[in-house]
Each structure stands twice: as structure tokens, then as C-alpha cells.
Amino acid sequence: MSEEVENADEEFEPKIVGLLCNWCSYAGADLAGTSRIQYPPNIRVIRVMCSGSVDPVYINRALLDGADAILIGGCHPGDCHYIDGNYKARRKMALLKNILTTLGMEPDRIWLKWISASEGQEFADTVQEIVEETKKMGPNPMKERWNL
């Protein structure tokens, strides 16, 4: 039985959508690449201008389309290129997670992380962590739903 579960885990490769801010996290991801730091290829990165510009509609859409995890990456608090976009992003994510919790819709698939332009290793570690945690959660059940 435990062997079967392990095998199933091995087969499941989560798909992660990464919404990374132009000024910090995207550059951090870039640094991970140029520094040849190895990280799992499960993440699909989308560059956004600011974590504060990420409307819940984008996250909800990824969730309903079956993304197994979504990473919103922004500048560290105090470092936002637009002064306070990341603080506002945090509020939006708190609300989104609150709503998903009330609805019983797996808020843990959403990750908010602060990764600076110099933190290539931090980016790689974050992706690694998300992949591991998401594998424990299993695939997003919305993947099988056609009647949304």
C-alpha cells in the first residue's frame, strides 16, 4: 500500500503557475537561471509588473483551470518598486485565502513569497518547497471538473 502511494507520488508532477514581480522575484528567478542553480521545472513563470497588480481573477482562473499551486512573488516588505504594492498584495491574498477557506477550496495551493533580485537560491528553494508540499497535497481536484 505504502509503495503504491509512493509510486503515485512519483508520477504526480505538479504544475505551478508563478506570477513574479518584474523588479524583484522575476529578476531573482533570472538570477537562479544565469547562476545555473538547479530547481524543479514544474513552475511556469509569468512576469507581472507588481505583486500588487495581481487581481484574484488571475489566481482563481489558474486554480479553476487546474493549476496545482500558484506562487505570487514580490519584493520584500519595504522594498516595493511602487512603494506599497506588496503590502496591498498581502491584503488581497489574505482576503482570497479567507474566501477560499470559507468555501472549502484549498487555500494552501496559493503561495505568497518575497524574493529579491539577488535571491536566486531563495527562488530555487521556494520552488523546491512548493513542489514538495504540493506533491503531499496531490493534484488539484478542479483539474477533472469540466462543469465550472
Binding site: D55, P56, G66, R90, A94, I99, G104, M105
Partner: protein, 371 residues
Amino acid sequence: MESLRGVKMIYELKVEEDAPMTVNNFLKELLTEGEVDAVIAMTETPSGKSAFPTMISHPEKLSTNVFAPLLPVSTGTVVSKVTKVKPPKKTLAVVLRSCELRALTELVKLNQADLENIILIGVDCSGTLSMDTYQGQDQDITEAVLKNESEDDLRTACLNCKDPVPKNADLVIGTFGADTDKNLFLDAKTEKGAEIVSALGMDESEGEEVREKAVQDIRDEKEENRKAFIQERSEIEGPDKLLEFFDTCVNCHNCMKVCPVCYCNECIFESSIFDLEGDKYMKKVEGKGAYKTPTDSLLFQLTRFNHMMLSCVGCGLCEQACPSDIPLMDVITGLADNAQELFEYEPGDDPEEELPLVVYREEEFEDVEER
């Protein structure tokens, strides 16, 4: 805003014919005495099938029934329409129920309404009926609802009202604690309101304590209702139940259109952003193998929840507008309460308080970063 600037004066309106006529006469006095240049107040339509907020400037055209138990539209939306581009130079008095006032306060925060030269007259709300129920009733329905004799007919939103007593009005017409056959309260909440009543020379009421107790009682009752309702409906949870709940949604967006606090000038779901090339749809279908059309019904609802929940005033217009009779308040009541509790925000409560998503503190919600 209660007792703000030390103003707290309760006056009495003696009921002559009936409660609606008494308020109508009061509004007439406001117009004839030149205190205001026009009013907006609920008025029954000639067919008797409906009632709408109506703008009236000629005293002889006043045939209002501010107690008509119907909410065809939020008067908050109406005030937004009238004042958004530029508020009037002349004085306009508007009669609103508590949920409409809450919505209006939110709209002011959203810069979608301007209260310059507007006098807000709140009215205690005993609840409203669905359009169907209202149409099927005889003429006495106003009185029946006013005297709490039709409680079973009230809309879900009204049974579980957040607060039926108006806040942030200049004047409040009070029925709670009054024998509506004999008298109504007129509560001056601001200097503007006090000026008006003193200009009209009204009698002070001695029923202040009775009213305060009645107000507390009804607030307690509604809060209890609301809690029990949320508890009862908390089982609508998880993808299965949620999809079943929204199964009959036809994606018409009526709920968004009638919502008094849905603030975007153009809704993203009405924009062309989701209009894709045929090939994109073909690629999308490869992902899951099948999808229901029109697409994105649940995405629309989920996103609307995220945009609206902190400002949701609980009017239930969304539920009333649903052509598929989806009991939206079953889900929204609990969602709104949870979200508002998280941000310690009460929509419509304090006009000076900023909307939660436009402000922040440096240290807060750190648990969100944990995961």
C-alpha cells in the same frame, strides 16, 4: 456616527392617517417650507404592483410610501447616479433604508457618490418582500410588514439583516419602539438634521428609552438570525457542493449589475478580455478534455466574491436578481461576515474609515507569507 458632535435629539411625528401618509406629509413640509428642493423616496407605481425610489420636486406630486416593503433597486445606486458626475447645487433629500445607506457610504468611499447638498433621511426597516410576494399582496402589506405580521414572507437578506437601523443619516424616521398607529420617531443625528427639525418646529419625544431598547432588541434578534443562518448554510463547502450550488448559473451577470457596491465602471467579465481566438478555445479544451459553455461561471462568482465581500452590505439584491433563483445569500452571508471579521471592517459603518484594500500596515497578515 450616533451622537456625533453631541447632537442627539428625538422628536415625534404624530400619525394622522397612517404611517406612510405621515412621512409623506413631513416630506411635503420639507418641500413647501423650502428646506429642500426635491426628494427621492419610495413611491408606489400606479399599477400598485411595484414601488420605486422616485425623485419629486412638486409638493402636490408627492404620494410616497417610504415603508413600501420592496427593494427593486438600492437607493444608494440612485444617489450615486445623481451625484457621481457632479452633485446638485440645490438641496436634495433622500429617504433610504439601512442597507441602502450602508451601500451609499461605501460608494462615497469609492468616489462614486458625493453627499454635497444631499440630506440623508434614514428609515427603520422592518424588511422587504420579493417582487412576486409583493405583487401578490393586497394593499395592507405595508402595514402588515411594519407591524411584523408578515415575517415569514421577508426576503432571506432581510431576515438576517446586518442592522435594520439606519446609520450615517442626518435624520432617522423611527418605527422601532413606536406604536405606528399613533406616532413615529424623528431622530436628528447631525447638525444638518437638527437644523431642519428646528426650522419645522416639532415636538420632542419622550420615548427615547423605549426606542433605544426596541432598537437593541431588533439588532439582537437579527444578529441571532444571521448567526444561525450562517451555521445552517456552512455545509455548502468544497468543489462538489459549490459546483452543485452554482449549477444553474446562466452567467447573465445580473447579480453584478444590481449590486450597489460592485464598483468597476466596466466589469472585467463584460470586457473582451475573455474573448479568445478559436484556436485558444481548442487548446483550452485539450487541457481537461471538456468544459461547459459559456465558460467561467464559477470564475465570475469567485472573483466577484473577492471584489465585493468586504463592502457587502447584505441587501440581497443579487439573490433577488437571479433568474435561476440561486439562493446566493446562503453563501454570501457567511463569506461576507468572515471576510469583514478578518479585516475588522464593517461596511457602511464609518464614512471616515478607509476601504481595507487601499490601506495596509507594515506588520500584519504574516501568516499569509507562511504559505
